[in-house]
């Protein structure tokens, strides 16, 4: 297979970026999108040119490191899959493909297709945890948790933190990412003691990082490789209002 690529190149955060065109040939349909880029980079290196910087690690759709906007879609045209899982057989031979980084104010470009997503870590640091020191846990079966609740929490916890929701959102909102963690922990009884302060602090941090507001476009759910539902955003709002009107929530704001 042969493809015509238009790829975003940018030397550094403060440098202007531009699209450059490349043609790749002898691509086999089983190849992943990143393996196709590997092959292009091998050719560039052999020509003494600088390879295209992009991120990836596990290459099996779980670490969340990879993420490209392909033909205008975060993680490309196939639903429910990360860039590393996307196979070239999804594209017709000879296709023209545009490749860009995940774009958002809160995700500054580091180089080419690599962006800085540390804002997501700071949202977790603001409250995306249960405060339990090592050694102080009760027996694991001490609190029974209904199966459907555990499953629902798992659905939300499946988030891989790739940031596709932000890249897909016209407002560059991180609502789905934040809501997934808020939901995961709010659903479980272990998460209840810190329920109010958690949602307030995480949402405040999300805003402070420069992410936009959610206005219910739903693009995030469509782009999410793990199928995280926007029901979680509704739950986060409920949690936020609940916390804002409670004493515990008021303490969190202070």
């Amino acid at each position: 297979m042969k493809f015509h690529l238009k790829i975003w190149r940018q030397a550094g955060p403060d440098q202007p970026g531009r699209f450059e065109e490349y043609t790749v040939d002898n691509i086999v349909p089983e190849m992943s999108f990143l393996e196709m880029l590997d092959q292009l980079n091998e050719e560039l290196i052999r020509e003494g040119k600088e390879p295209i910087a992009f991120e990836s690690d596990c290459r099996e759709g779980i670490c969340g490191a990879c993420g490209l906007v392909i033909n205008g879609m975060a993680h490309g045209p196939k639903r429910g899959c990360t860039t590393c899982e996307l196979r070239m057989r999804e594209f017709p031979d000879g296709a023209h493909i545009t490749v860009e980084p995940f774009r958002a104010d809160a995700f500054p470009v580091i180089k080419d297709l690599v962006v800085d997503r540390s804002a997501l870590d700071r949202i977790i640091a603001a409250g995306g945890y249960i405060s339990v020191n090592t050694g102080s846990a009760p027996d694991a079966n001490a609190i029974p948790i209904p199966k459907d609740i555990a499953e629902e929490a798992m659905d939300a916890a499946a988030c891989i933190g790739c940031g596709a929701c932000v890249a897909a959102c016209p407002n560059a909102s991180a609502a789905l990412f934040t809501a997934a963690k808020v939901s995961h922990l709010a659903l479980l009884p272990q998460g209840h003691p810190e329920r109010e302060r958690r949602v307030i602090r995480m949402v405040d941090q999300m805003d402070a990082e420069g992410f936009g507001s959610c206005s219910n476009h739903g693009e995030c759910e469509a782009a999410c490789p793990k199928g995280i539902s926007i029901v979680n955003i509704a739950r986060m709002r409920r949690e936020y209002i609940r916390a804002s009107t409670s004493k515990a929530g008021a303490r969190a704001v202070l």
Partner: protein, 640 residues
Amino acid sequence: MSQVVLDAKIPKGPIQDKWSNHKASVKLVSPANKRKYTIIVVGTGLAGASAAATLGELGYNVLNFCIQDSPRRAHSVAAQGGINAAKNYQNDGDSVWRLFHDTIKGGDYRAREANVYRLAELSVNIIDQAVAQGVPFAREYGGTLANRSFGGAQVSRTFYARGQTGQQLLLGAYSALMRQVAAGTVKLYPRREMLDLVIIDGRARGIVCRNLVTGELETYAGDAVVLATGGYSTVFYLSTNAVNSNATAIWRAFKKGAFFGNPCFTQIHPTCLPEAGAGQSKLTLMSESLRNDGRVWVPKKKGDTRPPHEIPESERDYFLERRYPAFGNLVPRDIASRAAKAVCDEGYGVGPTGRAVYLDFADAIKRLGVDVIRERYGNLFDMYREITGEDPYKTPMRIYPAPHYTMGGLWVDYNLMTTIPGLYALGEANFSDHGANRLGASALMQGLADGYFILPVTIGDFLADHRPDGLTTDHPAFAAAVREVNDQIKRLLSIRGKKTVRQFHWELGRIMWDYVGMSRNAQGLQKAISDIQALREEFWRDVKVVGEANDYNKDLEYAGRVADFLELGELMAMDALDREESCGGHFREEYQTPDGEALRRDDLFSHVSVWEYKGEIKDSVRHKEPLVFEYAKPSQRSYK
């Protein structure tokens, strides 16, 4: 033979009391003094994140480094199947003793008894801790935790979160870590690669890192250094590990004097997707839990090209069930892998390459219904479909073994300290608990036991004797280490040869897979050693590395890692050659029973092979730590 005496510092007393006695006797650092100590933790996987978080909770000043952009991406995240714990929630006869025995036996009697017992003992605390953190393990309708049995175990002791157990446990450890980051006890340094260890007065006192964004070399000083940097299966080029997984941190520590235990002990995982074609960058693992309900078979006729559904039951060879009636499809990984290789070598393999066997769920779907199978393995089936374009609900999966885990690693004593005082190794980076073969669902257990429960106790014992002395990176040892690292970087960039780093890595991978892979023999290993030496020489003459040193430069990062793999590969082959027996994942063709099973030679090789660097890889010296079995008496493993 060598004069070096390796003291594993195993506490005295009956095995079940060793850890409690040890905890009761170690020295403590007072709460007010802990913040005066700086501990460097390299790696943020299960072992690194759990250690950094727990040390932070205790009040130490922790610096935590990772190569990824976020600690949550460490490769522990990809572990699928589950985590073992001797909770005996299923009332099926499990106990700490049984988990201890299973782990020792599964490792083919090449692990240290005291460590393994402690691991089994701590397994129950890990589950408690993870649940308290909010890890959403699978549950029964009554709300209690669910378990499944997992490769090599006859009890159901594996806890799981769908097929994403590693992810959920890592996110638990990561959340604990981020809580400490917010609290200011842990300072996080992502996108940093450790390139050297700084030793002062014989003690590990700091590291040199490359900032992977700016390319700057940075130095950090501390009172102890903890390496939790994972395993080295990527030496095979194609493996189930992440593409950035590497041996550089432990390898550079080895070259600075830390001894390396059992480098040749590698695990080839039986249930991976077969190699598909050119340009492939990694092999994808399908969780071993699939073997609980899937049946492994090949056609009885050689070179049978009929599609699987056209092959009648009577013409199928369920070779694991046939050869191992007691354990069937659940035999340990090394046995399942070798059996699959054997049938493919004989010409019974399936698929376009003939290097695959079927893993068939038709019976399980008939017995349990498609919904149950979807609930248990849905995401794995989806993953298979994504990659192959085939529907495993309708047609059997094709699987083949792939390098997955390295039991070998830096040698550590009972306190997880390497031979360099103040340098610790945790998780897959150490050699410790899995002997010659790791049981399924035991890697997560070990990483978390090391990080949450063992290191935080043992490191205090060391630090209590080594008061903070105000060392800073102004000490000349740091500048010297930076110079050394800088010289290597300059050298890599100045060769400007013709072959890319990836080509060298690929060629090394071929050598490793062919001669240091699933089955090994003396002649092949000798050839591997000379081939690797030649390839390494060619690398330093003809590698082409592009870009600048002081920039984001993936090619340069990669070159440094491959340079290290080109040395480590040789040591692995030397170790495999030296170990003239078969045990666990190490299968020497010269040493097998008449029916082709691994033949251990306990009289000669009941020891850990511990290698010391002597300036050149080929001059490395092998020491021995004898293994004594008081509680789990070695027997020839039989899963028949």
